[in-house]
Symmetry: C2
Subunit: 453 residues, 2 copies
């Protein structure tokens, strides 16, 4: 008999069907045995009646057995209907169960409500724990974040490219980079596709990439991973950095809208609330932010080169109270505190046209306008003390006519964590890598959960 997906059983009432899936729960009530079965499309309850041929088999089956089950789809009597559950109005009367693969007894409770594992246990049993509805929900949300990022930019004519992971040198300095033994030479893992996306933009005009970046920060807090998914965009023919802000805002708005429609169940299960993006996200310069915080009785950070975590929380609270927006853009950081390619304001060249998008007290996205004129770029390369040889491919692009341009980047894991209110970024990575663990602990003298510093 052809397989019917569990999610489609509702349209097969009265029919005999065959389903394939896992035993989610088994409840032995002596004469009868109840099951919840699970496949990629959802769950359904099944019952083995005393006279069923399956009664013997059903006694031996445990949770997580993979099974093929034939049965009759029955309407439940009204009093047994569970309206808030998928397939809550039907039940599968089981005729036969074939065990496709057995399962060892579970090492811990995998039920939705019984699940309360610390991070270390979750990571020690990642393969099994990925079956839990909570983790399934997290990664479905992450999938929709990445998917809708891609979807929106494609709708805006952006071309997707594959940014490289292995790079020849550390273009933007920084010790926090992984070194690779590359035959008899040295190479490095990419910390950012920044220079590559600008190169590809110069040829394709509007580009984006979804790719891994690597950070060798020797830090094992709840906010650090060594390997993350970076969502990057870059586009030419902008009028000003505000075009970049608008494009990034529209992208995030689309992602939130898609999450709302495609992940309502997952977000409810995780008890999360999507952040509110109002019609026009408030946009303040760094100086304005500092003045607003001070005027609201906060810390006096006027004159500082950047916002610290306390400032980020403070300005988000102020904006939320005043406008209802969970988001705020901050622009106008000091030019010399940012990378060489960031565009200095024409009016106030000591400030630049880079920007950050904060949400609920944390940075989600950064971006801005870049320098597009070759002479100005070379001037910055010199002032920033960079070796032009190491970025010669990047510089070549700008020798041959690059119009005003800009772009932005988001981190998929961080965004997942912050949307879902997760406490540890490891929860937002299917196979999290940190300084002490790559799937398994690298040595036994490290704990996983060093408190955040």
């Amino acid at each position: 008999m052809e397989r019917t997906l569990i999610g489609e059983l509702g349209s097969h009432v009265g029919e005999t069907v065959s389903i394939s899936g896992w035993v989610d729960v088994r409840r032995d009530q002596g004469k009868m045995v109840f099951f919840d079965f699970r496949d990629r499309s959802g769950k359904v309850q099944g019952v083995v009646l005393p006279a069923s041929l399956a009664i013997e088999t059903s006694k031996d089956i445990r949770n997580e057995y993979a099974v093929q089950v034939s049965g009759v789809v029955n309407k439940r009597p009204d009093k047994n209907v569970q309206a808030d559950r998928q397939n809550g109005d039907i039940e599968l009367e089981i005729l036969q169960i074939e065990v496709l693969a057995d399962a060892a007894p579970l090492p811990f409770d995998m039920s939705l409500n019984g699940f309360n594992l610390d991070m270390t246990t979750q990571l020690d049993h990642r393969a099994l724990v990925l079956r839990h509805p909570r983790l399934q929900a997290i990664f479905k949300v992450q999938n929709v974040i990445i998917d809708s990022f891609r979807e929106y930019l494609k709708s805006q004519d952006f071309f997707e490219f594959q940014a490289p992971s292995i790079t020849p040198s550390v273009a933007e300095g920084g010790a926090e980079v992984f070194e690779v033994d590359y035959f008899d030479k040295k190479a490095y893992l990419s910390q950012s596709p920044q220079l590559y996306k600008q190169i590809v933009m110069s040829a394709f005009e509007r580009v984006f990439s979804v790719n891994k970046i690597f950070r060798a920060e020797p830090s094992a807090t709840t906010r650090h991973l060594t390997e993350v998914v970076s969502l990057d965009a870059e586009f030419a023919f902008i009028e000003s950095w505000e075009d970049v802000r608008d494009m990034s805002e529209a992208t995030v708005r689309h992602i939130l809208k898609e999450l709302e429609t495609r992940c309502a169940n997952e977000i409810a299960l995780l008890e999360a609330t999507l952040p509110v993006m109002i019609e026009k996200t408030p946009t303040l310069s760094l100086t304005e932010v500092q003045e607003r915080i001070f005027a609201n009785g906060g810390r006096d950070s006027r004159g500082d080169y950047d916002l610290n975590p306390e400032d980020e929380r403070a300005i988000c609270e102020i904006i939320k109270k005043e406008t209802g927006s969970d988001f705020v853009y901050v622009y106008g950081f000091p030019t010399r505190k940012k990378p060489f390619y960031v565009y200095p304001s024409s009016e106030h060249p000591e400030f630049n046209e880079g920007m950050d998008l904060l949400c609920r007290g944390l940075e989600w996205l950064s971006g801005g306008r870049r320098i597009n004129k070759y002479s100005q770029l070379m001037d910055h390369v010199e002032k920033w003390g960079m070796d032009p040889e190491k970025i010669s491919m990047f510089l070549e692009a700008f020798k041959y006519g690059v119009p005003p341009e800009g772009g932005f980047a988001l981190g998929a894991e961080r965004m997942t964590m912050q949307i879902l209110g997760l406490k540890n970024v490891r929860e937002a990575s299917m196979f999290p890598r940190d300084m002490n663990r790559i799937d398994t602990l690298l040595s036994t003298d490290h704990a996983d959960d060093t408190p955040e510093n």
Copy 2:
């Protein structure tokens, strides 16, 4: 004035518009200057008439300048219409040109027909050469390959996940792996997401990933790259390896169909011909293939453990002649010659249920059914002499009920190369990495184009 995309000019005849783009070609005819302008949507011809305010500016402009141009969209007189070209029936009468960024003189001819660069020069000037229509066409084709892979599997309910790049150990042996300095320990770059996709399949039932894999083969031929994009799929509840063959065939068929409709111009420009996939791709066992080659006057490879390149070409020619198919599946390789997770045939356990898809003499795809029963898997782990500790996360998945399953993988660069008939796989990678070059040459005592070995 708002920007109009060049591709949309046809619906603005008689109007004054503003376009932004690059100077593709400039032809100075003394009193008049002709331009071809290019943006992400296409090309259009513009003309500066003697009385135009733009006549002076237009004298200074060279190819690849980024410009903003206002002008009137005119219908061309019938005799000047070029029906086979985009915008061949219109011309932009230029009123004004604003230079957004100038361009240095080009180091070589970038016109479609004048372009004839050796691979080394192409790679030395990658940033500029990416603007050439030939390279644009290659990467648009590659983009559609990846996009339609993703699209088809999503339509079949597959869940996309992010496979890790950094791995803790070399699970499947092999010296051809890159080592990473991971804090004070060693880690490795992933050679394949195989074990991860099987883990994620055990939780999500149907999964795919588009991710980088890394191969440290010390080989600088026209077929080797150290970093490539792997298109991977894995799914549960199969009946036999033939379900995997069917799913992989449907995926490739969808990719070819999308290329045909979305990349007709690019494929024509590259003078390529899409391979023919007939209704049911011929499927032969290794033994049958060897017998067919021998019977057709080819090499006697009967009893060999695998096909060599000559055999692959021979069987493809035989099948093409007999059926018209450019594709052929080969299954039934010797069990002990394949990785530990490949499923041995129940009837003839010395042969396994892995398979390769050949096209035009080369392997495109491999896959097959995997072992799903824990005890059988542990038996293979032992026979293959593997350390179960090193794959403990993988093995855990199979402790808890994994139904019959299988999957397949394709390489994006190889597929691009073979569809387009490119001679060097470097042409199919935007930023190709090989043992001698990562963007720039790693040392000067290596040539790029070692002949294929």
